[in-house]
Symmetry: C2
Subunit: 289 residues, 2 copies
Amino acid sequence: MTIEAGPSIRVRLDLSYDGTDFSGWASQPGRRTVQGVLETALATVLRTGPITLTVAGRTDAGVHATGQVAHFEVAPEVWAEQGEKLVRRLAGVLAPDVRVRAATVVPATFDARFAALWRSYEYLIDDGDGGPQPLSRNYVLGWRRHLDTGAMATAAIGLSGLHDFAAFCKRRDGASTIRTVLDFTVERTGDLIACRIRADAFCHSMVRSLVGALIAVGERRRPVEWPVELLERRVRADEVPVAAPHGLRLVAVGYPADDELAARAAQTRAVRTLPVIERPGGESGDAEA
Amino acid sequence: MTIEAGPSIRVRLDLSYDGTDFSGWASQPGRRTVQGVLETALATVLRTGPITLTVAGRTDAGVHATGQVAHFEVAPEVWAEQGEKLVRRLAGVLAPDVRVRAATVVPATFDARFAALWRSYEYLIDDGDGGPQPLSRNYVLGWRRHLDTGAMATAAIGLSGLHDFAAFCKRRDGASTIRTVLDFTVERTGDLIACRIRADAFCHSMVRSLVGALIAVGERRRPVEWPVELLERRVRADEVPVAAPHGLRLVAVGYPADDELAARAAQTRAVRTLPVIERPGGESGDAEA
């Protein structure tokens, strides 16, 4: 038995990664994952036992992040010795495709997953004849046909609000597919199209399915009303294409003020643990892409 | 002998590339160069004989471009058949690290190199503890020590104007090192530092040497006045470090209005062909980085 020296310290990490060479966030045996790489680097740099990370958005294989948030617990004496140099030391240990920008001590009520108010994703598409620009080619979906972004933007507005997004989600038993989309916009700058979506949480493959539906609308293969009509479905709509992962990035996660963290986490957890009844916000931020 | 069908057509290409896997712009036997790859692709797509490209900025190995300009000549009957589809067809033939955005017929007086009024480059540095962000890591120089961007900006202002930049140039016999720097700014956004420089033309390694000097100032290893004092030198200053190529990109090239193209090209050429006397603007745009 080890003797613990007082309560542990909770640390928030703000981090970014290029998802290209990762099998997503979540640890999997024998695969290179962001969680696996980071937990190993943290244990190395902090010279401590295994570290377990809790994350805001469990991104899929190939999906990027510029504003991911995670937290972990560490013994106070370890933090006192290593905390100040953590960001710099991680930079020396981690491969260049994952970077920790900041490591901050947070209240014990901060929970990267359950205390989050919203997650914000961006999906980039280039529909120019020349294809995606070289310096961003790994982070932009090239589309060979011109897309009607006006139609896409109209469809996106229709998808905003509190809905059951079952048609756009990979079904998991007992998990709610009801989510609140706070904003969903489509903006064109030359050949570059940015689809930006912010929601309380996302179910698995939701953003990529929504973007896949918008692309069908942009190509005029489907009417503008089609994505909204799919909200009537209670199961995954197989005719909705899932857009490729490399165009997607998690850009930001929002949290309440410190004195509201505990209430938010309790609220999210309570909804999540209801055994049968499904409610808005269930399975908050557990999966995406 | 082949029979030519009338005067050839001159075509301007607007293009971008990721310089990482290229041995620079200029063709070299046995090396992958942007010029080599593009000339081969053009000959393939246009189904014609060899194509020769003239370029605005001959970037070095590892230097990127988002706003490069080149021109070539092609027979009118070839252009009539292939011109409209050129950008789309090139996109299918070229590797994703080089893209042609536009192919435009221009007056015979347009010369990508000699008619250019200015070239604009950007050099990006990240001096944060965490290192360059993953999605831009191949295009940003990571610097492990904090840089005083105020001092760098002041030094940059001093370097603006008409000067002999011999101290910052790889010497070539008979080539002028007198250039006019139109703007030179240093701007910080968080940990990201952008050094932006626009000049009538650049001599070889000039931008990277100027940035190398600014970094020495930013680190306080050299006084703010040091880069300006180096302008007194008539030969390359060996103590000036040359910043790594991957932080540098050619972002834009400026040209006069169509009716002033011929005059500008004649002026640049006249200066260049003076056998002994060196004048401002000589060797215009022949080399850089």
